[in-house]
Subunit: 238 residues, 2 copies
């Protein structure tokens, strides 16, 4: 993954970071103590401390005195853009949540589509379509592709209980993501599924995610425009 270069403390940091982001060190796992790391890298504790403090600031590890350092459990909120877990969001509003799987098929990447080819990485894709339902009103229509190369376990699941988004969030943490947000008009088929009039304004969120550089999933979610706000907050973290 990373090239081992730069200062010593940067090397220590990126070595540990790679192990976490790749999933080799799962959330909750104990990270070697500063004493162990200073032995491993042959340096002083302050150098190790600088690396580990940086990882803690980033939220990748949690440090507890006497207990040690541990790989953090990923926060459900992405740090900035409040979109990841539709289910959790609906539940905190006190509404019942349901995910209706409309379609599920296993297929190869389409020949013309560079994104799909990159996502499949030589293997197969899982293509899903489903509806997030809040109470008894449709909340979002979701089309998703999952790389079975990156996440072979997904092949066994039927996503009747847990939505694919929630499942991925819990099983493939520490992903990088790119979001693309736009507004579109509902065509007849989509309007029907979301119980709207044709032509209604929809918020479209398209997201691609990677894990340690490898594509994991692509998803496009369509929300009724007036029913949903994305909120992003910037500024002093503390």
């Amino acid at each position: 993954m990373s090239v081992t270069e730069g200062t010593l403390s940067q090397r220590i940091r990126s070595e540990v970071e790679d192990l976490i982001r790749s999933g080799a060190w799962a959330p909750g796992r104990k990270v070697p103590s500063e004493a162990e790391l200073m032995a491993r890298f042959g340096c002083s504790r302050m150098t190790v401390n600088k690396a580990m403090s940086a990882l803690a600031d980033e939220g990748l590890i949690v440090r507890r005195r006497r207990a040690g350092s541990f790989v953090a459990r990923p926060r459900v909120h992405s740090t900035v853009l409040d979109i990841p877990d539709i289910q959790a969001q609906i539940l905190t509003r006190g509404e019942a949540y349901r995910f209706d799987l409309l379609d599920r098929r296993r297929r190869k990447a389409r020949a013309g589509d560079a994104d799909e080819i990159a996502l499949a990485a030589g293997g197969a894709l899982l293509a899903l379509r489903g509806l997030h339902v809040a109470g008894d009103r449709p909340f979002a229509l979701e089309d998703r592709l999952i790389s079975l190369t990156a996440v072979p376990e997904a092949a066994e699941l039927d996503f009747a209980e847990e939505s694919p988004g929630a499942w991925l969030l819990h099983h493939v943490p520490w992903t990088e993501a790119e979001n693309r947000i736009s507004a579109v008009s509902a065509d007849a088929a989509v309007a029907d599924l979301l119980a709207l009039d044709a032509g209604a304004a929809l918020l479209a969120v398209e997201r691609r995610t990677w894990r340690a550089g490898q594509p994991v999933t692509w998803v496009r979610q369509l929300f009724p425009g007036e029913a949903y706000d994305l909120v992003a907050r910037f500024g002093p973290a503390r």
Copy 2:
């Protein structure tokens, strides 16, 4: 602003950070050297260094060997959500940019509106409406309120040359912001201004910003849905 508490290096850091965020230290200004700060706070260089390195990591200051540390010029891109400077974005696409001011008035906060009252902070507001134009096509419709308490200089400007957004970006850097993104249908008046059919899907971005806790501006921008994408990327910064 901040309460002076916590560790010494945190205190140094937050003291400098406040001076920058409040605007007391303008972009480009020299920050005291480590030697000066260690004299001022009566501590060792490593302690000062830790504070200043953190500010540099955050992007608030730029450090150059031998030259010293300087308050950074704010990056045009917000770290994560790519919306701030419409003008710059249009220009990089090679199109001509123009801002047409449609309306400009100075008024008090409306009695019923808590947001407006907070924004005015006892003083007056500047209410603006304008159109961002790319080439000769309308690109976005903008409604904006500026607090003349927070930014009294704005009272003198007519925003014929520079859009209010660009002006604020250059004169009131280091703001915190909250974005709210949704999709709406164009009503007749808006559709007319944006040269669209009534009912077309629009992307609505509503943003409030603060400077050191004080409200600065509120803005609502409406983009033709199919003409614009917001892109946000998360993940390893490096």
